[in-house]
């Protein structure tokens, strides 16, 4: 299980995820792996679990925060649903601790390559895409500054 502070470049993180996913024969096991990733995420600060940090567009409840530190984006998030929380952890492995230009160079196609888009219900896939768009919007803003 990778630790969450690693700092692989996005493409390397995606390659690593693909390798890990390929290890499982069926989706139940893959979901278990995703759930475990969520469990290993650092806890989301209780004081940020408010409306201002609520991420809309998901059927489960999702909280999210992003902050630049030394030119890299620090991401925090959680959900009341275990699989959603795991998917947030997965996104953070790709986009967390990256520079704005690295984030912008990483389009969401990797969700397809991981088989996630076909396996998630439409509304959950939309929520995941929404979070990627949000992360990319934050990077775009930083890139222009």
């Amino acid at each position: 299980m990778p630790n969450m502070t690693h700092n692989l470049a996005p493409q390397a993180a995606i390659a690593e995820l693909k390798e890990e996913f390929a290890f499982f024969d069926d989706w139940t096991d893959r979901y278990q792996y995703i759930i475990d990733m969520g469990k290993q995420m650092p806890p989301f600060p209780a004081e940020k679990q408010d409306d201002a940090h609520k991420f809309h567009g998901c059927q489960s409840q999702v909280w999210f925060d992003a902050e630049w530190k030394d030119g890299r984006l620090e991401l925090q998030g959680t959900s009341d649903a275990a699989i959603v929380k795991g998917l947030i952890a997965l996104l953070f492995r790709v986009y967390g601790q990256q520079t704005a230009s690295e984030i912008l160079a990483t389009t969401p196609e990797f969700l397809d390559e991981l088989g996630l888009k076909t396996h998630l219900s439409a509304n959950r896939a939309t929520g995941l895409m929404g979070m990627i768009q949000k992360i990319r919007a934050i990077a775009t803003e930083a890139d222009y500054r």
């Binding site: 139940t28 979901y31 759930i35 059927q59 959603v84 959950r124």
Partner: protein
Amino acid sequence: MSSALISPAPAIDPAMNNGAFDVAVIRAAFPALQQTVNGKPLVYLDNAATTQKPLVVIEAVNQFYRHDNANIHRGVHTLSARATDQYEAAREQVRSSLNAAVVEEIVFVRGVTEAINLVAASFGQRLNAGDEILISALEHHANIVPWHLLRERIGIVLNVIPVTDIGELDLSALPALISPRTQLIAVNHVSNALGTINPVWEICQIAQAHGVPVLVDGAQGLPHGVVDVQSIGCDFYAMSGHKVFGPSGVGALYARRPWLDVLPPYQGGGDMIETVSFDAVRYAPAPAKFEAGTPNIEGAIGLKAALAWHAALDWQAIAAHEAQLLATATTGLRDIPGLRIIGEAANKVPVVSFVIDGTHPHDIGTLLDAQGIAVRTGQHCAMPVLKQLGAVSGTVRASFAFYNTLDDVAALIRAVHRAHALLT
């Protein structure tokens, strides 16, 4: 013919199903059930959302497009006559399936949602500020929001028949909720979220004693039994085709004869008029008065096939089969630690809504899908009742149809055990 839905005290003995009803033969008629999902045989338990379609329905729609497609009512040519004949035969089939007195009482609509919006719009024109509509705490949003819109528009008052903690309507509260201002009672026949069968015949009796008409939302009724609107005694009954093994986008509103002339048209357009000038319009008699524009012709024809097929089934045996599915699923799921069934009414269709402590319904639903099992998770368009019964994050709902088997129930229970182990 007896049915769980219309007899006030249904006596269903699971032992009655001793081979009279062959579920394998029934399943063979449904092509969509013969597939694997995520490498597992599909176990389709989302029937309260929509049902799969038997070959006879698929073929009826196919045949119409291949041979008879034309617009109805206005053409002199052969195809138009054929299309019109089939469309009107479909209306007769709906009449027969609901046991309405006359065919004019059947108005084709898109489905229950449109049927209730039609009544809210047309019946609503008779209402004044302060008039009351009485619904129940078990309603689907389709039987709440149209009345809320009327409240916003003209200031009607919306009152609610309470529901008990096991998910039954508290009818003892009903008489006191009916006031001289009560204009209509609108309740569902069967709760989509919990599966509760409501004693609509009893509600109609109480309403009649007060001179109040009743609308029944029958979306979940017909899929599980035989419906007789005359024996129920309602003024309006709404049904959706796709819930009863027919196409989407077609359904019917039964409106008892006296209402047909009293109620004003719903929408304006072609087919609902007799004569039009810029100064005056003469409306066609019902049901055409309520059917503006080209309707869902192929949908009605598919619905006819679905209802004819439905009418030929052995509903005694199906009631026994469905009771067995419900009892087995309920017992098996109850064994799972932390699992709580939401809605345990004495009289239910085979719907089991549940939550598991410490887990989110969406996680359960996703893990079931990975194992080939289709259920619905969330609020089931019935937020008020789920909130009252303590399921604010929604529930997992397994809703069965008669084509489901005890093997499906076993697969569900196994898969929920596995999901539970992964999540807790």
